[in-house]
Point group: C2
Chain length 715, copies 2
């Protein structure tokens, strides 16, 4: 269940809307926090390679700035004013918007203009090289070291490079076989299908044969007549795809395949090259997802070399990060595992022996940054202070104490310079909208770039509190975000809405600006609704036991916990216990339907978006991790099946589903509707004809207005 | 736009529901008029061939009765009590429900038991012959004269007969070519694909090549995963199918094809055999539907013989009835045409010369029954008394005065005995629930079989009036059905609902029981809504000019007229002009959306079912008759395009669409929704996942409850 948060950058849309003071408009409630109500912030934070010069993009004026660690302010260094003349001189068209770029080295940046990769000298402000690619190209993967570019067209993979020659790595006519794209439905940390070696001269890539996978029919209604869009969708318990890994060598022009062997339905995850570009490491996982083998393959011959170690768990093993090699000791790497119950770092050698566990404790690593030039310290982001926060730390590779690098409470992001002497950090918390600063890795504040003012100043801002609620197990602390309703007077009773996600891989409540909420929740509070979001057991950020308690029993512990949130709400005298609503999307749509049917006396109104209604209609990778197969776990599937619960629905429930949702297929909502009809139960439905699993772009305003009106009408 | 009335026989469902007195339940409102609130009536009214003995089925007790023209009551003659022993004796299984039957002759009846045609001697009560057919067979066409049976399996045609040998008439592997099924989307009066000759030894059949027609993807969500159901759907202006007519001779075993020639996209309509089984007559219509040729083909050689005559019209020609040959003069036939502006009868000879026009006047023939044994009189049903009524008449074939055969005002149906001396008639009017009687063709009442009591006795029955309203053209009289609201008190203002169809081929208001209304309209009146249905210009029963005024401009005259209905409603002091709703299905869904957007200040709430939203998404046959192609009539298509009007929607509009609607494809509603979203206009939607163009069976109760709740909530 990827893409639970909607990363639709409204940045690209001209902010024509003037901020209205008082209450938010529905448009502001949906897009405002990314536009006119966003705290001042910069984008594209980076360090010029090999220097102590940082750069950033001030998007509002379309200019890049550069600064150093001195107290002097950063100065303008790149904008359309100097990019466009360089492009025109090189015979290219002027751009209307400043491009995003990657550093090639300290003198050169790389960005795309239409269908060309452009290397530009930032001192001379001139185009050095261009690399054209097909206008049909997708999944571009440019290697800044070698200048080679991999991309896909339809289901085939191509490579071009400095010689501008196009090499077809595959020439597959069978559309059921796909090259160079993400596989395994982007579970297991997979987000792409090509992996350049360190030197950028060899390319590891995924080949996925999904011709044996059943197709789900989706329909594009924008053509006359409507056009079929078949999508290979392996449903829980059904035949799944077969993935292998090829290696293309740009020097020899040869492609070999790694001997990953049988069974063909295994998962090949977290591909990594060793520092010498000789071997490829893959975390191989069985279909049952309870056994992982970290395996080494020879990148030249494709031969299986050895299994370094294995991990097993009665519930599931979920490798999410590739091995990270130590620069000074190429036979050592860091491995991330939650084998002790929490995601921690382990130093390994390539014999597969643990040298030492680098971190431990009842908190988790949320991001491994890397090691410094001398491999003295390992840098990482973690929840060590609190599950609500994200801080940066370093720990000696040789073992020892952890040092915290970031200061204030909240959610921190950091970008380190290449020598790991400085980092640019960005943070916010419930009181601080946004700060950008430069820090030393000794933990000293060097320079503040931005300390944003409260963008909500002058608005009728509802009060938000992070609350602690005891889970239904009576022993686990849960975190919630409670937004108080703005009440007309002190006597009126208020309705309450639970906004819920509730599934694994997501944490809704954080000590960050707005508490992690969508501004819509505040908008609803302005309208007089109390709004609560509670991260129940099963959600992320709290370790393996907390998240995996749902194994084989989706929807039970999660809803039990949500009812504790209801107790919290109804303990407030000004909340009307007869007017409780619930809204969620995806897993949150499943939760919404579950709560509406399991606790039909409690919830009066619900809006379930893109809901899973029967886990047998969900895909193999995510679905079987938590539920095993329908054959292995009939009781779990039955208990989690909303179709059987349609008859219990008493309140008003609006289902919303993207008409071309290829993540949670429309069959889910439609099957529930059919059950409601057969049980003579009324239910409401809406569909967004051109949207997939989430309603994106400005259409999202329409969506949230619909959701709002539903609560306004019926709650 | 077929199937505008929902002929779902709830008869088969046990009537467990006890009639509640007072107001109707929603179940009664939807199914009651076919079940416990149906006036007493008989089914399967027929005459024993060559006799004056009539028969009928009393469905409530599952027994057939037989009577004669004397005053003696009919007596039981057939039921499971004697059918089942006969079946068991012949080695067949007992039946649980009395079968429907056809007469073979006065001694033998034919009916189906599972997958066999059974001929039973009604005197001996024994099975005479059986003819088995495949359990996959569809479109069975049994000829009682020869005992041959035609049927289809998938896209191929088969014939079996007394020798029980199965002949494959076609063996087509290409699923885009279909044999023996209805063609041209069942327009032009076509309802089947096989046509036995008089002797039952030759079979004319349709062959349709639709492999060149674009497919519309529909999705069946009842399988895991959902399964694609592609349907060939030629949209207005696009490539259409090619139809030809084959003739299979059971004696020679040969099949020939009629030389119907080019252009391939013509319409071959109203197939008829001449009395000698030598020739086949076809009304051939061009794709533009403004030119018809009545053509004769040699059934043995397939050769085109001649064109008898042609009909042309600047708007359209619509042949709906095959030639009817005169028994005593096999070179003469009756032709039905609205060439003089009204559907009338013409006596022709096979040279293509009109002998005489048999009927004329500003009324229409609604059904040609036939001529008597001596061909003295032609019997027909017509609107001669009033467009609201249907009576039976006879006119001398030699020309002369028309004699009315049926008496009371209302809608009459008649079944004549083979000598045309008697007929069984069924009638009702706004005051008479149902009457069955036996009449002489001299127009004398012979015997009353049933005079049903008012089934609504004891119910709080709202008052219904047939009203006359002047059309928007200021000169055409329209008929409406007005159901007065049952008001709580004399001061409360009432909301009003317009129930609308408004398209050609349909008449909603008739002088028949309930005025032609669905009982739901009375249910709504019980709830306090005024309910009006108005047959605007463009509807049927009033002649060519009245119906065809909409040509190239669908939705204009029709809505203009409906606004006259609004004037009628708002002239009533007890109706709140701020609370007007509208509901319709199919063409009525188009009308509903049209009214909601064109008169957005008048209509507060609408429910549009299976609406056509853009005529370019509708099929060629019906669509181009009224609208020509999008290329020929861009302005007409634009004016009738609801997509462009989405931005004008102000009120609450609920769209409902069958998820597998293959008549008005879901693309219509979905495209309108998409336009609403893009225009930031809220609209509501619901879908019935397993239903096609209409929501049938008990799910219809769910549908009408949804419609009702929508009005209750928002109007």
């Amino acid at each position: 269940m990827k893409k639970i948060t909607i990363l639709f950058l409204f940045l690209g849309i001209a902010t024509l809307i003037q901020a209205q003071q008082g209450n938010f408009s529905i448009t502001q409630a949906v897009t405002g926090q990314y536009r006119e109500l966003s705290p001042k912030k910069y984008y594209m934070l980076s360090w010029m390679p090999g220097t102590n010069n940082y750069t950033y993009l001030d998007f509002t004026i379309g200019k890049y700035f550069i600064g150093d660690i001195s107290s002097k302010p950063a100065k303008e260094f790149l904008s359309l004013d100097n990019i466009n003349p360089a492009l025109e001189k090189a015979g290219m068209e002027k751009q209307g918007r400043v491009p995003f770029f990657d550093w090639k080295d300290k003198d050169n940046i790389i960005f795309t203009v239409d269908t060309q990769y452009v290397t530009m000298d930032i001192k001379k402000k001139s185009v050095i090289t261009t690399l054209p690619f097909s206008s049909l190209a997708e999944n571009q993967d440019y290697n800044t070291t070698s200048g080679f570019l991999a991309y896909t067209i339809e289901n085939n993979l191509y490579v071009t490079g400095p010689d501008k020659k196009v090499r077809a790595i595959s020439d597959e006519k069978n559309k059921g076989i796909v090259f160079g794209k993400t596989v395994h439905r982007s579970e297991f940390g997979i987000s792409k299908g090509t992996f350049w070696s360190n030197s950028g001269t060899q390319l590891a890539f995924y080949r996925m044969d999904e011709s044996m996978v059943t197709e789900y029919p989706l329909v594009d209604i924008t053509e006359k007549p409507a056009v079929l869009k078949m999508t290979r969708y392996p449903m829980a318990g059904m035949t799944s795809h077969h993935v292998t890994v090829g290696v293309y060598n740009t020097v020899t022009g040869k492609t070999i395949y790694l001997e990953t062997g049988e069974p063909a339905e295994q998962y090949l995850t977290n591909i990594a090259w060793d520092p010498a570009d000789k071997n490829i490491y893959i975390a191989v996982l069985n279909r049952a997802q309870n056994h992982m083998w970290l395996r080494q393959y020879d990148a030249t011959t494709g031969k299986f070399v050895k299994t370094l170690f294995e991990e097993e768990n009665a519930r599931y093993v979920e490798p999410l990060n590739p091995v990270y090699f130590i620069k000074s000791a190429p036979d050592q790497f860091i491995w991330q595992s939650q084998r002790d119950g929490f995601m921690h770092l382990y130093l390994y050698n390539t014999d597969g022996k643990v040298i030492r566990q680098l971190t431990s404790g009842d908190w988790i690593i949320t991001s491994l940054v890397g090691t410094d030039n001398k491999d003295q310290f390992v840098y990482f982001q973690a929840t060590k202070e609190s599950p609500l926060e994200r801080h940066y730390y370093k720990v000696p590779l040789a073992g020892g104490e952890i040092t915290k690098l970031t200061g204030e409470k909240g959610e921190h992001d950091a970008v380190f310079n290449s020598t790991y002497t400085y980092f640019m950090e960005t943070y916010s918390n419930v009181d601080v909208p946004n700060v950008h600063m430069v820090m030393t890795t000794a933990g000293k504040e060097q320079k503040t770039l931005v300390r944003a003012e409260d963008p909500m100043k002058g608005f009728n801002m509802p009060k938000m509190t992070i609350v602690e609620i005891m889970a239904a197990d009576g022993k686990t602390k849960l975190y919630g975000r409670y937004i108080e309703p703005i009440r007309k007077d002190s006597t009126t009773k208020c309705p309450a809405i639970v906004y819920v996600y509730g599934g694994p891989h997501a944490q809704m409540v954080t000590n960050s600006w707005l508490g992690g909420a969508a501004l819509w929740e505040y908008y609803m509070a302005q309208k007089g609704y109390a709004v609560l979001t509670l991260d129940n057991r099963g959600s992320s950020g709290r370790g393996f036991e907390f998240e995996s308690v749902i194994h084989r029993n989706l929807g039970i512990a999660e809803t039990d916990d949500q009812m504790k949130g209801i107790e919290f709400l109804t303990s407030k005298k000004y909340i009307d216990p007869e007017r409780i609503g619930v809204h969620g999307w995806s897993f949150g749509g499943f939760m919404t339907t579950n709560l509406m049917t399991r606790y039909s006396k409690v919830f009066k109104v619900g809006v379930a978006g893109g809901p899973v209604m029967d886990w047998k209609y969900y895909e193999v990778m995510y679905g079987e991790r938590y539920m095993d197969t329908p054959e292995e776990n009939p009781e779990g599937y039955k208990n989690a099946c909303m179709l059987d619960k349609a008859k219990d629905l008493k309140g008003k429930l609006l289902l919303i589903h993207g008409y071309i949702d290829d993540v949670v297929v429309p069959q889910n909502s439609l099957s529930f509707i059919e059950k409601c009809i057969k049980n003579k139960v009324q239910v409401d439905f809406f569909t967004y004809p051109t949207h997939e699993h989430n309603v994106r772009n400005m259409d999202r305003v329409h969506l949230m207005q619909k959701v709002t009106e539903y609560f306004d009408t019926f709650l």
